[in-house]
């Protein structure tokens, strides 16, 4: 108690001098001065100096503060970089593999959809969205359709197709938008995506690269399908074996054709299975396996003409005779073989009964001796050409020329008119002569001549008298070709199929070259702006990487227009990490990405805080000085 009381007394006593000093220091010192006249003068000049020089200082400081506010606003109020974009292209995997669930039981499709919708929400109302979904032979387009529902103000102007056409679709899209600004390419890639062909899409962005992403799910790792298809008469036989699904004895198998017709069967997973389907339309389609109702195996394309590296050619022969058709096929294939080159084309010939089931994704369609067709049928072909197909019309004895011209005038390059036998040599340049030696030497018998050519049409070959032999006209995204003479396998008649294969090869090569030159003319130059602190990202994505992982399977590249069309991909990592911190943790395969994303988000916030502090301190100093 004593100690306490003494402390109570002593403490204030000890503190008293300090308190007095503190009070004294708080008060200004009084000075009685004699030269106040001069002091006032000095004070005046000091203030004037402050007024004069601080004007500049004030401006600089104000600018500093404004700059800081601007940067801060940029950092803090930055909602999304996407908001500035006008045209957005979304490339997304739409395959059945997207049905697969992750460990938490969420479907990849739902997640991808959610992300895409998030991005769409962040876009301006005037933004034009192009959605290119891709999958195998055929697609459900569930994702695209569901997204379309949400695009109230935004215009969805493209719908993608399968792998072989993805590249063309993207190309066409870019061609359409040559003078516009294509800003965002959002790509969703599932495990099943053929990355090699996907890379070819990205070749349109010369520096474009993307990172392969695989979803790790141990239960789905080892599932594999070994499938063989046979065709016996009108019966299609599937013979295959499923491996890696030991836990499940019965597995449901679904086969879907290109029209969308489905057949489901239960098969034994431990044994080899054989399925027989009596429907020719199932020649092309998708094969699926469901395990436990939670996983749909990747679409297995079992028809062969879907390789983006090769151009597919389909010939529709309307001749009744099957033997003749076989001959045509034989001669054409033989013709390709005699070229002694690795054929870059996949050639299929359809029977007269099958002609309606031609694959609409084929690059070139040859109609040989078309008979009189209904309006609906013509619309089918018109639509095919409009969407980017190449249609070659070889009129034959069955072809009603007048009706043909009448119905197809919209897309035909010229009008056909009947003409008697005339043997003429073709005018060929040196290149053609080199490529098709027999073609140049032979005389062709033109059954028809072109009566009137459209202004837009282009003559590929002409006879020695100057009349055109092969004319081409652009329609929509594709081309319509027309040949004046019917083809035959006999030399004496008109054009030999053997030679035709040669011509076709060269012609399609030019088409391919045209594509390549088109690509060049686009002059796509992709360069990518990274955030300042990119070292962490570079570690993750490699030095030159420029497509960024938004979500597993989602890559985000922002592009900006330069001159004609140059794409600049920009990646706002902070947005992503801000938006999906938990998701990244769940989804990102590997810690580095996670760390990088988090690091960047933190840096962003800390930078903003630092700037805020700087602003406060600056303004405080400024105020204090102004007061003085």
């Amino acid at each position: 108690m004593f100690a306490l009381s003494t402390y109570l007394l002593a403490l204030p006593l000890v503190l008293l001098p300090f308190i007095i000093k503190w009070i004294k220091t708080g008060k200004p010192r009084e000075v009685i001065f004699s030269q106040m006249y001069l002091l006032q003068k000095a004070l005046k000049s000091h203030k004037e100096l402050q007024r004069k020089s601080p004007l500049l200082l004030y401006i600089i400081r104000m600018l500093q503060i404004l700059l800081i506010i601007f940067i801060m606003a940029g950092l803090l109020l930055k909602t999304d970089a996407l908001s500035s974009s006008n045209a957005v292209m979304i490339i997304c995997d739409d395959s059945f593999y997207m049905h697969a669930k992750n460990k938490e039981g969420q479907q990849l499709w739902d997640l991808a959809k959610m992300e895409i919708l998030n991005i769409l929400d962040r876009l301006d109302s005037e933004a034009q969205v192009s959605f290119v979904g891709f999958s195998g032979a055929s697609s459900q387009w569930l994702l695209a359709d569901s997204i379309r529902e949400n695009l109230t103000n935004k215009t969805l102007n493209y719908k993608g197709e399968n792998w072989s056409h993805l590249r063309r679709n993207v190309k066409n899209l870019l061609r359409e938008r040559t003078r516009e600004k294509v800003d965002v390419i959002l790509v969703s890639v599932s495990k099943a995506t053929d990355l090699e062909s996907f890379k070819k899409v990205f070749q349109m962005f010369p520096d474009g690269r993307f990172k392969e992403f695989k979803i790790s799910d141990s239960s789905l790792k080892n599932i594999a399908l070994n499938l063989k298809t046979y065709k016996v008469k009108d019966e299609i036989i599937f013979k295959g074996k499923i491996s890696g699904a030991q836990n499940q004895k019965k597995v449901s198998v679904t086969i879907e054709n290109s029209v969308g017709k489905k057949i489901s069967r239960q098969v034994d997973s431990s044994k080899e299975f054989i399925l027989k389907i009596n429907d020719v339309s199932f020649e092309n389609g998708v094969f699926r396996i469901d395990v436990n109702d939670r996983f749909t195996f990747d679409n297995e394309v079992f028809y062969k003409n879907h390789d983006s590296d090769k151009l597919s050619v389909t010939m529709l022969s309307f001749s009744e005779s099957v033997s003749r058709l076989k001959d045509v096929q034989y001669y054409l294939e033989n013709g390709f073989k005699t070229l002694q080159r690795q054929t870059p084309f996949l050639f299929t010939v359809k029977k007269p009964s099958q002609w309606k089931y031609f694959d609409k994704k084929t690059d070139m369609l040859i109609m040989h001796d078309p008979p009189f067709l209904s309006n609906e049928d013509w619309e089918l072909f018109k639509d095919y050409v409009f969407k980017g197909g190449e249609l070659l019309l070889i009129p034959g004895p069955q072809t009603p020329v007048e009706l043909f011209t009448k119905e197809m005038w919209n897309i035909l390059p010229a009008e056909l008119k009947e003409r008697t036998k005339i043997n003429q040599k073709l005018n060929l340049n040196k290149e053609w002569e080199r490529n098709c030696p027999r073609f140049s030497s032979s005389e062709l018998r033109a059954k028809w001549i072109f009566h009137r050519l459209k202004r837009s049409s282009e003559s590929l070959f002409s006879f020695s008298d100057g009349s055109p032999f092969w004319v081409k006209n652009r329609h929509g995204k594709g081309n319509m070709h027309l040949i004046s003479s019917p083809f035959s396998m006999y030399w004496a008649h008109t054009v030999l199929f053997h030679d035709f294969s040669n011509v076709l090869y060269t012609m399609l090569n030019t088409v391919k070259k045209d594509w390549a030159s088109n690509n060049e003319s686009l002059k796509l130059k992709a360069s990518f702006h990274f955030p300042k602190d990119i070292t962490s990202y570079k570690k993750v994505l490699g030095e030159k990487s420029n497509a960024h992982l938004v979500l597993p399977g989602l890559y985000l590249c922002q592009t900006k227009e330069k001159s004609d069309l140059s794409l600049v991909c920009n990646f706002e990592s902070s947005n992503i990490s801000r938006r999906y911190p938990t998701k990244i943790e769940d989804w990102v395969n590997g810690d580095q990405e996670k760390i990088a994303a988090y690091h960047y988000s933190r840096m962003d916030k800390s930078m903003a805080l630092l700037l805020l502090l700087l602003l406060i301190s600056e303004s405080m100093i400024f105020l204090i000085r102004a007061k003085r």
Binding site: Q35, M36, L38, L49
Partner: protein, 301 residues
Amino acid sequence: MDLDLPKEIFEVLDRLVMNPIVKSHDIYGGRHNSPKFGSNPDFKEYRNYQNGESSKDIDWKVSLKTGKYLVRKREHQAKIDNWIIADGSGSMAFPLKGRSKYLYQLMLTGVLVHLLKGQGDSTGLIIEHKHKPFFLTPQKTLSGITELLSKLCHFKPSELSNYGNSILNIRKRQFRPCVFWFITDFDNEPSKFIKDIKSLKDEGHDVRVIHLYHKEEKELAWRGECLFSDIENEIEAAKLRPELLQKEYLEIYLKHCDEIKNSIRDYEIPYHYFNIDGQLEEQIIQLLYGVKNIDLKETNP
């Protein structure tokens, strides 16, 4: 107020002489040369004899040598009037602690009066003040000088000084050339004062200006936030940080001093700039001879 002058200074003062530029016209004897020729044995010059003059003045020796009647001209020595114009303004009380400018002025006046009395000159005093100026005609007697000094001792510096009035007063009374000792600290606009002293100089008087200062006034050596109030209560108090103003103040102060010095010296008026904490002997010598260092022992008046 006591005059606390060191004793040594009086010993020094005994050897000093104040030589005015002007010549005394006084009829009484003094130490200063007069324009009149008197009976002083000191020879000044020879001149031709004029008719009617006393033959006593003819220097026969020289006249025989030259063949002309030459008269020896002798000097007349007379006393001269001195006016000490002391500054009675409030600023002279600075600094409040220690030796103030006013005290220094008092010491200086005392020394001067002592010196001038020794030379037989009379000293008058004017204390400059706006409301209660003091005026004392030149005194030669001890009682007069005592009155002068006691008046100066008992005067309390306050308010402003008004030089114009005092100079006008002097002009009314002083017709003969005399010596004016202006002691001030120039705490106000000096242009009018300088104009006045120039006019005095033009009238043929010997004017001397002593500018007093304290080092604190020059250096503004305070630190921290200070409330500066005017000692004369004329200018509003100002709250400021002297360390921020130091540079500008020094510039202005030096410019002010230079202006005064140049404008005064341009008119060939002796100007002395004295620190009140400095050596009084040195300053007195400087005041009288214009040289700082002089061997006083050898100086023989």
